[in-house]
């Protein structure tokens, strides 16, 4: 017995070393990696805007859920609708888990539509979710234009539809609405800034526009109360998510006439669902990806995060968890003919025939 005990005693260090070599993760946890480190959140925008505030709201919660409580700082690299920063993260940043990207949803649409200047592959990033993924686009016209109802809308020719720049979400959605609602020779007038569109509508310089249902509720309550505009249709993102006040409006997919058109709507929804994605560059070690994904998951589920985000941005968060985010990206319709139709719809030329 003594000799067995002695033998065990002699062998145990070797067994211990063997155990450590076979299962290093259980001994050398990744938690200490982030301890004392600084994580840079690279935003593809100028500082100070709503996107920046959203990111800051998330970061302040994520920080406490990353083991080791690393410092998190923001860096800004505006340009090209986020292309410059996304290209930089894809190609130049060291994939060690210490740089996280945060862009607008244009990052996804630019890549899938093959726009110039895109030097990244969206399928190769690791996604950490988004603080919001819900949106309700509505198509409205000013009351004085006399376009109450879909039939009058379709009967009128040359409706002037205002939007921001070509490629901007309000432009894309306006084109989609006009196409699916079957408007006759609509005239699109982009190149408005956000602040100019509503006065232009009220002034009569444009007849209609696409906008967010929440934006109308927040900024243009007078329109709702005094009936200054007519609401025609809504696009729910995600599908089936009814807006509290305007959920009664006909959903745009209901106007689609073919499966291809329904897929185009699904594509438009998918671009919006991406929200403002947080992501890691390709090649980031999987264990560090898991740690960060778990931290973001916990942050999004934190009840205090909900309160702080709403207070800071004015909107309620509708977070997309990391695994749902990756799923959403994977499931974006990729059929070439759908993308081709979508590109024509959101381009600058006339709407394609149906």
């Amino acid at each position: 017995m003594a000799s067995l005990r002695d033998r065990l005693f002699k062998v145990s260090p070797a067994l211990g070393v063997l155990w450590i070599c076979l299962s290093p993760a259980s001994v050398f946890s990744q938690a200490p990696f982030f301890q004392g480190k600084t994580i840079t959140v690279m935003q593809g925008r100028d500082p100070g805007g709503t996107g920046d505030l959203r990111a800051r709201a998330v970061i302040s919660f994520v920080q406490k859920y990353i083991p080791g409580n690393p410092t998190m700082i923001n860096e800004y690299m505006p340009g090209g609708g986020g292309r410059k920063a996304t290209n930089h993260i894809y190609r130049s940043v060291r994939p060690d888990g210490l740089t996280i990207g945060n862009m607008s949803s244009a990052m996804v649409s630019l890549a899938l539509l093959g726009e110039s200047g895109v030097q990244y592959d969206i399928d190769k990033f690791f996604y950490l979710g988004s603080p919001y993924s819900t949106y309700h686009a509505v198509f409205i016209s000013r009351k004085e234009a006399g376009l109450s109802g879909i039939e009058k809308l379709r009967a009128a020719s040359g409706i002037r539809i205002g939007a921001q720049s070509v490629g901007f979400s309000t432009y894309n959605e306006a084109r989609l609405f006009a196409y699916l609602l079957g408007l006759k020779e609509p005239k699109f007038i982009p190149a408005y800034s956000g602040a100019e569109l509503d006065p232009a509508l009220m002034r009569g310089e444009i007849d209609a526009r696409a906008t967010g249902a929440d934006t109308v509720e927040q900024r243009n309550r007078e329109w709702l109360e005094k009936g200054l505009v007519d609401f025609h249709a809504i696009m729910e993102v995600p599908k089936g998510d009814k807006h509290q006040r305007l959920g009664h409006l006909p959903e745009i997919e209901g106007f689609a006439r073919s499966d291809k058109e329904r897929k185009v709507v699904a594509l438009a929804r998918a671009f919006r669902v991406a929200g403002t994605p947080f992501f890691l560059p390709p090649g980031t070690p999987k264990d560090r990806v898991r740690v960060l994904q778990e931290a973001f998951r916990k942050a999004y589920k934190d009840p205090e995060f909900y309160k702080e985000y709403k207070k800071l941005t004015g909107d309620a968060p509708t977070p997309l968890l990391p695994e749902d985010h990756e799923k959403a990206i994977r499931e974006i319709p990729r059929e070439p003919e759908v993308a081709e139709l979508y590109k024509k719809l959101v381009g600058a030329g006339p709407l394609p025939p149906r």
Binding site: N87, S116, S165, L312
Partner: protein, 512 residues
């Protein structure tokens, strides 16, 4: 409950008579002053983004006092860069360099700074008073100015430059045309077409005006010091002028201050115009309307400092009209201010005017009081800052280059910007050497994009019928009359003097 606006204004004033509100305002003023005098890069948007998570936890009035205090003051104190170093300040303070820097070189930096702070303070107060009075009636004005009217205003702005180039009209037109061409670089908003991008991601959004302005004016100024081996203020002539002299100049030119302040308020009210045009429009108006401006502007005429500075600071009042009355942000700072208001439970727009009129007036009062405090702070700082103009070139030149490069890099945080600033700096040097007016190029760059946008929207919305709109006809008449009047004045002076009368900007370019 709706109350009369007079009672709301009174209540609004009483509401801010609290120590913590006043202290918050002082802290905001300090932050705004620091932002103005720090090297470019720490702009108000970033300051607001950093402060917002903190102030939204405070009581609304205290938070508002801090935020408005900071933004009201940052423009007032931004004139020291153009006056002392010939480097354009932030948006809205670029035109100040045309006359401010020559004043500095002539030993009148203190006078120029005194005039700029006084003009800024008066502009802020006028902007606030306009806000106070116009709030109930501003909405029709906002809706009156459509794309056709704005196009004609831009045309008026552009015509000013062509005239102001005076002695070298052809060179002025060439410089303006080059500015217009540069404005085309990037993605065109109305078609999505990439113009002059050459597949370079850097050029997708065009080249930032602030970088070009910094390069065109800042590098030649720094080279000027290096080549002449003198400090800014080391002139054979003794130092003259004081801060008080500058303040007195501004008070004497009170009517100019009022006119230019209204230009600023109007630019602030109209969505989409932006702060980059306000100082040039005011400067151009002053050059056209002030007596003797044709001979003296560009050589260090204090009115050339008063005009842009008063407009730039009055603009904040106009911004607040649109922000509070309609809930439209005019820029990042006002957008963030709206976020703060929403966090406190207030919804900017007509609802807020009805239900929280006293809060709106509290904001207005804070804006005005912060402007006055900012002016006083400016005067206190100016005396010390003006000493910088007396430093030797060997010390100043490297600092200037650091400021310029830091400022350029801070815009997009892109190293390519440093190359761009060097290239345009060299261009600016040769433009100055061969008499091509640099402000003309800047104005072409700033107005070009706006003009194209407004013209496109006018044609798309109205066809050619926009030319028959009453506002357009009126503004076209004003533009043509002022153009003809100014040309006629030049011709008369040419006949009387027997030689070409120079224009303001051409004179500045002759100043070697």
């Amino acid at each position: 409950m709706e109350v009369s606006l007079f009672h709301a204004a009174l209540q609004g004033l009483l509401n801010i008579v609290q120590l913590k509100v006043f202290l918050a305002m002082l802290v905001g003023v300090s932050i705004g002053t620091f932002t103005a005098v720090a090297p470019q890069g720490l702009g108000m948007p970033l300051v607001y983004a950093i402060l917002l998570p903190v102030v939204i936890k405070w009581e609304p009035l205290t938070g508002i006092a801090l935020l408005i205090g900071a933004s009201a003051v940052s423009a007032i104190c931004a004139a020291y860069l153009p006056v002392l170093f010939g480097i354009p300040g932030g948006s809205g303070s670029q035109a100040t360099v045309v006359d401010g820097y020559p004043m500095g070189k002539r030993g009148e930096a203190r006078r120029a700074l005194g005039a700029s702070f006084m003009a800024g303070g008066m502009g802020c107060v006028i902007g606030t008073l306009t806000l106070l009075v116009a709030l109930p009636a501003a909405r029709p004005l906002i809706y009156l100015m459509g794309s056709p009217e704005l196009f004609v205003v831009m045309l008026w702005g552009l015509s000013m430059v062509a005239v102001l180039a005076g002695r070298r009209p052809i060179k002025g037109l060439i410089a303006t045309a080059f500015g217009l061409l540069l404005a085309m670089v990037g993605q065109q908003a109305q078609s999505g077409i990439m113009r002059f991008v050459f597949d370079q991601p850097y050029l997708l959004d065009g080249i930032a005006v602030s970088i070009i302005a910094l390069a065109l004016f800042g590098i030649p100024s720094a080279l000027d010091l290096a080549l002449t081996r003198l400090g800014v203020e080391q002139q054979p002539a003794p130092l003259r002028g004081s801060l008080i002299d500058g303040a007195k100049d501004t008070l004497r030119e009170w009517w100019l201050v009022v006119r230019c302040s209204f230009v600023g308020v109007w630019v602030g009210i109209v969505p989409g115009l932006g702060s980059q045009v306000v100082d040039w429009l005011a400067y151009g108006h002053a050059a056209q309307s002030c007596k003797g401006a044709k001979e003296s502007f560009g050589k260090g005429d204090v009115r050339g400092v008063i005009a842009p500075e008063s407009a730039n600071d009055a603009k904040d009042g106009g911004d607040l009209i649109t922000t509070l009355l309609l809930g439209f942000p005019q820029g990042v700072v006002t957008a963030l201010f709206i976020v703060a208001l929403l966090a406190w439970g207030f919804v900017p727009g007509p609802e807020m005017v009805k239900k929280n009129a006293d809060l709106i007036y509290s904001i207005i009062w804070i804006q005005g009081i912060a402007g006055i405090i900012g002016t006083l702070v400016g005067f206190v700082l100016a005396k010390e800052l003006a000493r910088l103009a007396g430093l030797r070139y060997s010390f100043m030149v490297p600092i200037l280059f650091i400021f310029i490069l830091l400022g350029a890099f801070s815009v997009n945080r892109d190293p390519v910007d440093l190359l761009v600033v060097v290239c345009f700096g060299i261009l600016g040097y040769f433009m100055k050497r061969f008499g091509y007016p640099r402000p003309a190029m800047i104005l072409g760059l700033v107005l070009g994009d706006l003009m194209e946008k407004y013209l496109y929207r006018s044609m798309a919305s109205y066809g050619f019928s926009w030319l028959t709109r009453p506002g357009v006809i009126l503004l076209l008449v004003v533009t043509v009359v002022s153009f003809v009047f100014t040309l006629r004045g030049r011709l008369v002076r040419k006949t009387e003097a027997g030689s070409l009368s120079g224009g303001a900007i051409a004179r500045a370019e002759d100043d070697r």
